[in-house]
Amino acid sequence: MTPITVRVDDASYTDDVEPRTLLVHYLREQLGKVGTVVGCDTSNCGACTVHLDGEAVKSCTVLAIQADGCEVTTIEGLARGAELHPVQKAFHEMHGLQCGYCTPGMIMASIDLLKDNPDPSDDEVREGIEGNLCRCTGYQNIVRAVRSAAAEMRGGSDGTGDGSVPPASVSPAVVDTAAAPHVAAQS
């Protein structure tokens, strides 16, 4: 057992871990951060994606001990109170999830992509989330969600924003309203 100190979602934790403990198992089983999930054992599916010192990584392919002294952000640390991150909000708005199992990883990977490319095309989004598998959505609404969030984070859909927009001040209960812009309601 080796002691590690990790800052996860803005709280510090000191724990003893075995060297072989994977970061995702440490998060889930020792910290109770069960929002981050495991979907495979070969680092293909991306469901376990978290940010390690600001970069998206597959937490099933990082040892917990390697996170010693690092800052980890999980899906549970994205929202500020009732204020969802724009990418979370966009996944909801654009129906970018169904069963939701891939969603934490998909959202964390998408945020990482938008950091490098604030205005990705459809194809760039598709390539940017190539390391995250979804079995439900066929990805089309995920692509829409990421592009929509990108526009909001840039400060409007015209792509001229400066990217300094604060998190969307919308809670899930509030956004449950009108028809999605890309879907024609049945008349």
Binding site: V37, I75, D122, D123, I129, N132, G138, A180
Partner: protein, 831 residues
């Protein structure tokens, strides 16, 4: 209380049905506040790891688990002998013929293993890690038996047997003959007199449902009661079956499906591990958990498809179809699971598709092999049928020199002919194939793409273009209970719902149709908001716990909205009927003089007099003032049993580029127009279509479970079992026509499987259309670049793939079982 107030001028609320409501479910899913089964932690909980057979067919000659028992943290180790007397057999609910042979299916092997991955011992330990470490300390000796893998060989006389106590590898022979059933003419006659007969052999490769959430089970014993949490599609069915298998009385067993991360048929099962968790929790009196790894899931969760189809079609020279003959070999795997034998039989009725065949005969042999059992996978029988008919229609068109769409038009059921009883005896309810097709052609830009195809052919472009068509229908809304009875299915097809009107006017809706990602909470809220005239936000939908939702048949077969949603609407009708009596009493009016609209009862001809149903809920909770002779409750329960299936249909078109130099295929454009009846939530409908398309396209292009000659699954990780990513799939252009289903109060037909059923033949037909002029008439699925290249340059259908796993991660396919290590490779770094 203000039972009466002025209601004039209140605008009618907007209809919820048809509105693209964002999903209520999302709030927890996008924030990680989820309740996956594996999240469950209970005091004193023990962890299970399963020791699995590394061989496909063998007698177990010795089991030595003594070292594992001594390992740190290990509490107990069990073998098949330990449960031989009490484990019974996993259930098969669908004996498709009276003489079907079912060898029985132990949850843990006792003296023989019949597929790689079968459980042979169980470690129970204080931690998951300790359990997994101890797996490597077990020592099991096997006496190898001949491995049976190929169905066509397995049905030959003298073939090696999977189960040597049986006479053959054939479980059953199922026949549907329209001539004998009186729904069509004599098939042999139809063929003998036909101008043209086209015969093909199609292979439905073995697929893996590959839901994203690995299966997980937790069982907590409490005295003689047991609570089971399971990542299942079917908590209600699981409860009944687990009670029957283990002897735990049904009323002592509660099953909970919390958040469930996808299923696609793959979690429509009673799993060995669910039974074993119950048996071990009972024996130890402690809570236990089992969560599978992905490799375990790919290796041992049931697979789908795996059929060889021999299809003959007869027609006259003008292109009128005269007869259809289908003979199937369907791979059961080593055992019969919940509905293993029924999957191909379910497809039996769909081979005629949307066409007016005068004669039809279907035969199917269910065949045992030393592979993991097959069972339901999205579409279950209907994708296979749709593939066969849509592929053979193209082949017939080629034979006749006719445009494939013209051939279809000539034979499909016209809009004016609905309802139409097909040669398979099904009464198709509604639709308009021509309109859907026209819309799809426009969405695709059919004429421009045909022109480009011509140009590419003329210029001998190395990248050729093809367009594939699939005009499909399916039977959904499973299912009329009497029809299931006539097919010997072990249960009905009804669904249950109840509505509880709470004192504050909020509404609890209990549904027996258990979701696992579809969005029932949102759609059911919309149904109830419209029926009861209450705000969408005031409705809460409860599900997935047999203690909360005691009656139900769960979610599969595109049934939830059609059957389960209808039960909800029926329950709402009963609530209104009960409330009407209270309203009449409180408003001092006759029931006959009450109108109910927008959630409020008003008295006809008396402006201003009215009471809302939410107010009635409070009044009847207080129960101070209600009519004599009735119970003080407006809660209601309903069970809906459909009288017919529903029949979604649509036209799917795929434009495909084929690189003739490499065989690489790329979807250029995909357009489809589906008629699924009434659309309750267009957002959810669109999502279901997209997801179905992804899986149908994946069957055509990417996915295949491959076993090597020893019966090892070489596609044992996501490295080699290729679930496509966003970068591998195209944008989909989707549309709808709406012909409401007459068989249910909503008018819905079902949408969960449409995209998956329709797309596969469209994709394959497109690839063939691109290279048919090069002499290619078939390519086996999935259309790997190698197969496409071989078909173009060497003829044939592309042939078998090599069975060896790729050398990714130094050959890290898991032909080893979980926890069984092989020689360490010489890895020095990483990718």
């Amino acid at each position: 209380m203000t039972a009466v107030e002025d209601r004039t001028g209140t605008p009618a609320p907007e209809k919820e049905i048809g509105k693209a409501r964002r999903r209520k479910e999302d709030a927890r899913l996008i924030t990680g506040r989820t309740t996956w089964t594996d999240n469950t932690v209970l005091p004193g909980m023990l962890h299970l790891a399963v020791v699995r057979s590394p061989v496909a067919h063998a007698r177990i000659t010795n089991v030595d688990v003594s070292a594992a028992r001594e390992a740190p943290g290990v509490v107990a180790v069990y073998t098949g002998q330990d449960f031989a007397e009490e484990q019974g057999s996993l259930p098969c609910a669908w004996p498709v013929t009276p003489d079907m042979v079912n060898p029985g299916h132990p949850s843990i092997a006792v003296d023989q293993v019949n597929h790689v991955g079968e459980a042979v011992a169980i470690i129970v330990a204080r931690s998951k890690t300790a359990a997994q470490d101890a797996v490597e300390l077990t020592d099991i000796d096997y006496e190898l038996l001949p491995v049976v893998l190929d169905m066509e060989q397995a049905v030959q006389d003298g073939a090696d047997l999977v189960h040597d106590q049986l006479e053959s590898n054939t479980s059953y022979h199922f026949v549907f003959d329209a001539g004998e059933m009186g729904t069509g003419g004599d098939t042999e006659q139809a063929f003998s007199g036909a101008d043209v007969v086209v015969s093909r052999r199609f292979v439905q490769q073995r697929l893996i449902p590959a839901f994203m959430e690995p299966r997980s089970v937790v069982v907590q014993p409490q005295g003689d009661n047991y609570t089971m949490w399971s990542s299942t599609q079917v908590p209600h069915i699981l409860r009944v079956m687990a009670a029957m298998v283990t002897g735990i009385p049904e009323h002592k067993l509660r099953v909970i499906a919390p958040d469930v991360g996808g299923g696609f048929g793959g979690k429509l099962q009673v799993n060995p591990e669910e039974i074993l968790c119950l048996l071990i929790a009972r024996r130890l009196g402690k809570p236990v958990k089992w969560t599978e790894t992905r490799s375990e899931s790919l290796m041992t969760a049931h697979h789908g498809r795996d059929q060889v189809q021999f299809v003959d079609i007869a027609a006259d020279r003008e292109g009128h179809v005269k007869g259809l003959r289908v003979r199937l070999l369907a791979d059961m795997g080593a055992y019969l699971r919940l509905i293993t034998p029924g999957v191909p039989a379910l497809g039996a009725f769909m081979y005629p598709g949307i066409y007016k065949f005068p004669a039809y005969r279907f035969e199917c042999d269910g065949v045992f092999t030393n592979k993991v059992p097959t069972d339901a996978y999205r579409g279950a029988g209907r994708p296979e049928a749709t593939f066969a008919i849509e592929r053979i229609m193209d082949e017939l068109a080629v034979e006749l020199g006719m445009d494939p769409m013209e051939l279809r038009r000539k034979n499909w059921i016209d809009a004016a002919e609905f309802p139409f009883t097909t040669v398979a005896g099904l009464a198709y309810d509604s639709g308009d194939y021509e309109t859907a097709t026209q819309q799809a052609l426009e969405l695709l830009g059919y004429d421009e793409l045909r022109a480009e195809q011509q140009q590419r052919r003329e210029s001998n472009d190395p990248v050729q273009l093809g367009i594939g068509i699939s005009t499909f229908t399916e039977m959904c809304g499973l299912a009329p209970s009497r029809v299931l009875g006539s097919l010997s299915f072990g249960a009905g097809g009804w669904e249950s719902a109840s509505i509880r009107m709470l004192p504050t006017g909020k509404v609890e809706v209990v549904t027996g149709s258990t979701p696992h990602g579809q969005g029932h909470e949102t759609a059911w809220s919309q149904l109830v908001a419209d029926s009861l005239g209450v705000p969408f936000e005031d409705v809460e939908v409860l599900h997935g716990d047999t203690a909360i939702s005691p009656r139900g048949l769960d979610t599969y077969g595109s049934r939830s909205l059609v059957v389960g949603g209808s039960a909800v609407v029926k329950a709402a009708d009963k609530v209104i009927a009960k409330a009407r009596k209270i309203a009449a009493h409180l408003l001092e009016a006759s029931e006959d003089d009450l109108d109910f609209s927008g959630g409020t009862f008003s008295v006809r001809g008396t402006p201003g007099a009215g009471i809302s149903i939410q107010e009635i809920a409070l009044a009847i909770f207080a129960a101070h003032d209600y009519p004599e002779g009735i119970e003080p409750s407006i809660d209601a329960e309903a069970t809906f049993d459909p009288e017919n299936f529903s029949f979604p249909h649509g036209t799917h078109l795929c434009a495909m580029e084929v690189d003739t130099d490499t065989g690489f295929v790329k979807i250029r454009k995909y357009a489809c127009v589906d008629d699924i009846g009434t659309i309750v939530n267009p957002l959810i409908v669109e999502g279901q279509i997209h997801g179905g398309l992804a899986q149908g396209i994946a069957q055509a292009l990417y996915e295949e479970a491959i076993y090597d000659a020893d019966g090892n699954l070489t596609t044992g990780t996501f490295v080699d079992y290729l679930v496509p990513s966003a970068a591998d799939l195209p944008h989909f252009d989707t549309g709808n026509t709406v012909h409401t289903a007459p068989g249910n109060p909503i008018g819905a037909k079902g949408v969960g499987e449409a995209g998956c059923i329709a797309s596969t033949p469209a994709v394959v037909n497109a690839a063939l259309d691109a290279v048919r002029h090069l002499g290619v008439s078939d390519i086996r699925m999935p259309l790997t670049p190698e197969r496409v290249w071989r078909a173009i340059h060497q003829g044939g259908d592309g042939g078998d793939r090599a069975a060896a796993g790729s050398n990714a991660y130094g050959g890290a396919q898991t032909e080893t079982t979980a926890g069984v290590s092989t020689d360490a490779s010489s890895l020095g770094g990483d990718r």
